[in-house]
Amino acid sequence: MSVQILDNNAYAALPEDMFVIGIDESHAEDIPRPSTTYWHDVWQRFRRDRLAVIGLVVIVIMTLMCIIIPMVSPYTYDGSDYMNMNAGPSLQHPCGTDQLGRDQFIRIMYGARISLTIGFVAAAINFLIGVLYGGLSGYLGGRVDMVMMRIVDILSSLPSLLYIVLIMLIFGSNMGSVILALCFTSWIGTARVVRSEVMHLKHSEYVLAGRLAGANTWHLLIQHLIPNAMGPIIVSTAFLIPGAIFSEAFLSFLGIGIQAPRASWGSLANAAIPVMQMYPHLMLFPVIAICVTMFSFNFIGDGLRDALDPRLKK
């Protein structure tokens, strides 16, 4: 609407009934734009982020594929087709076959199962440890908090790959120890976020007010922590998933992760190196799978971060 300004004559000629005090006062407190809930806003903002939505769709499709395809496919991850060894992509084998004639597509699907399982499980465990450790440290405060944070400082001052490699060597190469290794230090980020949020809340006026009113502090913290700290916690957890997938692929690539004949994306890529010159497709498809997944999760993470805290969007 543009601003209406009248010239002097028109203004003087305005009818009397325009000058009566007291019209619908009820609108005085009207809120001009519709107000929405926080989570509704978050979803609206996330939905507008095209890359994040694409990432989400890709991950959902990939999850469904890696669950369903191995159940209905005629091939298994270790079954050989001796008629077609080192074959290129074809209708029969969409991603070709490897040196032993194993269908590369189904092996990539099994790899997806491993990668996604590790990603989600590791993220969930890290989330739990992080929230508990950080919550406890912040809640107890004082000396306990200092010792707990010192431990975290020491753990995080060294590259996590060092621990991961050592743990893999002790517990052997299997999925359990990969997850264990990944959970050794990855929860630290979440723990720090939760701790500072708990510290902040503990001293905030509304928790103090609640305490004076006789409410249980622990109960108050849980009640207020969830809505207040959920944003940063979700974001740090969302970025844990691609981190875990990357670490697993990396370990398998080094030959200390998932062991043959089971296939993971990292070990598939590793196995393709010696024959890279002759059969590049053996390297290409697992690598594409890794990249697509990493991109998708990073897009989702970015989208979540922007959606949960629009101030961070730069």
Partner: protein, 330 residues
């Protein structure tokens, strides 16, 4: 002669969801040596007005005006480079929050001597001398030690004094103080006000004081602009505003100041409702939705300005001959 004269200033910000019309066609002037107060609540456009005049708004702002003259010169079309020659030398600025307005990574000396080096081309030694003199002028004890310190080592009051020293470093013709006392403790507020009053007495500079605090205005300014919703709703000299205000919004502002002789049980009167959404400003008077004297015309048309004296002007439909006569109740 008028030091600053602004005609028909419009400022809007382009943000994701639309355009915020922060300032809508305002005109005003500041005379030589005069101190003008601009008062209004947050979001009324008072700070944006001054930042538009000085060209210090972020990149997503769009400014248009018929003319802005400063010291007899047209400055509305000046390039950034030419505006910079005015900043810090002819126009000194003091901002609201001294905690964040000083760069945390540089010493007081570095930040205080910067305008001297830029505009007066002083060398390090003479800039330092001048900086010491400035710190003394703003009543900072032990100035030698202060020069070496970083902002985080100073209290809020001291930081605001440093900000004032920076603003007056090159003896500007115009000092713009944007809520200079709002972020400070009450006792410190009084000291800073006293310092500004002293500066006003001792220099010939004009001062524009932006604030939402009528008390600050009363103690500092000779003339007052009352802003609401990006427009000027009333202006006049201190007496005219404090004793003869005609705009219901100004009445509201005056009624919300605690009085020394407040009677027991007498309550401060708040202005109900919230400021208008400047993304979709109302077609008529911006104050209409909150005004207890609102008439149908107020919703439909922007009120024209009515001159009540040489200095006193009010933009309100209640001034129309056909409108009922109402007076301030307190």
């Amino acid at each position: 002669m008028n030091l600053l004269e602004v005609k028909n200033l419009n400022t809007s910000f382009h943000i994701g969801v639309g355009t915020v019309q922060a300032v809508r066609g305002i005109s005003f002037h500041v005379a030589q040596g005069e101190s003008l107060g601009i008062v209004g609540e947050s979001g009324s456009g008072k700070s944006v007005t001054m930042l538009s005049v000085t060209g210090l708004l972020p990149y997503n702002a769009e400014i248009s005006s018929d003319s802005i003259t400063f010291d007899g010169r047209e400055i509305s079309g000046l390039s950034k480079k030419e505006m910079r020659k005015l900043h810090g030398s002819e126009i000194g600025m003091i901002f609201q929050d001294p905690m964040t307005s000083l760069n945390p990574l540089f010493t007081v000396e570095n930040q205080l001597t910067e305008p001297l080096k830029i505009h007066r081309h002083m060398d390090k030694a003479s800039a330092r001398e001048k900086a010491l003199a400035l710190l003394r002028q703003v009543d900072i004890p032990n100035p030698e030690a202060r020069l070496k310190q970083y902002p985080h080592e100073l209290s809020g009051g001291l930081r605001q004094r440093v900000m004032i020293a920076i603003a007056i470093a090159c003896a500007p013709k115009l000092i713009i103080a944007d809520e200079p006392t709002t972020a400070l403790d009450v006792t410190i507020q009084a000291q800073i006000l006293e310092l500004l009053q002293g500066l006003k007495r001792d220099s010939r500079a004009s001062i524009i004081m932006i604030t939402h605090d009528m008390g600050v205005i009363a103690s500092m300014c000779s003339r007052i602009l009352v802003m609401y919703g990006g427009t000027i709703c009333e202006q006049g000299d201190v007496r005219e505003i404090f004793y003869g205000a005609r705009h219901p919004y100004t009445w509201g502002l005056l009624n919300s100041i605690p009085k020394v002789h407040q009677k027991r049980g007498e309550k401060l009167v708040p202005i109900h409702g919230t400021p208008p959404d400047m993304l979709q400003p109302p077609a008529g008077c911006p104050f209409a939705p909150r005004c207890r004297y609102c008439m149908p015309v107020c919703r439909a048309y922007m009120p024209p300005e009515t001159a009540l004296s040489e200095t006193h002007r009010v933009a309100c439909h209640l001034m129309h001959p056909k409108a009922p006569k109402v007076t301030r109740e307190d």
